[in-house]
Symmetry: C2
Subunit: 116 residues, 2 copies
Amino acid sequence: MRDPLSRTFAALADPTRRALLARLSEGEANVSDLAEPFLQDMSLPAVTKHLKVLENAGLITKGRKAQWRPCQLNGEPLREAVDWMEQHRIAWEEQLDRLGAYLKSKNKGTRHGSKK
Amino acid sequence: MRDPLSRTFAALADPTRRALLARLSEGEANVSDLAEPFLQDMSLPAVTKHLKVLENAGLITKGRKAQWRPCQLNGEPLREAVDWMEQHRIAWEEQLDRLGAYLKSKNKGTRHGSKK
DNA sequence: ATGGTTTTCAACCGAAGAGTTAATTAACTA
DNA sequence: TAGTTAATTAACTCTTCGGTTGAAAACCAT
């Protein structure tokens, strides 16, 4: 079994699941509501499985109202994933900045980039 | 073949690959440098494959210097992925805000939550 | 040319993913 | 009780993933 961050990213690595999340970011919805746009492409059990993946990743929670399962988005895992990415993306940008500063300082003493 | 966003998330859904990226966010490194911490857990070709996945996702670029392949992080796909996530995470938080506002307004007229 | 490094390629294997259909569960409704 | 709707489970197929080992490629140094 995988660590939470891996499960989050794996869950996001599928366009159908991202579309489900996008739909849920507009508000709660039942399984059949969520499935409706996909039923020409895949079966209902396929959607159920996708929702299970999202649930296992903690990205959604499923309630119960009679025979319906109202699903809600849960943003917390998203925040953690964003945090991980930002941390390294920012480090990457700092590298670029240092490179830029280096190239600048290299041309400082020696006028317009004359060699040596 | 998959869309770029899916490839990015899929590439991030593995702890080895995230560790490789973390290492690269501190600066450029060769394949064998990158592989070194993992060689007790897996073979060198396994690391090569992971790097290939990262490269195909556009998260790293590989240069060549003699027989070495200096790898660099590329943060752009990270930014796109973060954008996608933030967009929906924020929508989710606005839901919470609306819910909070609703609960607040519900208790406005009727003193301390008396029921009807 | 020979030999040593660094890295990749090829072929294979088992496990996990994403889909199917058919059957089942769980709740409501007449 | 019988029927309907919503959703899940089971069993199966096919593909992709993550790893292996062994060989090959590419480059440098003697």
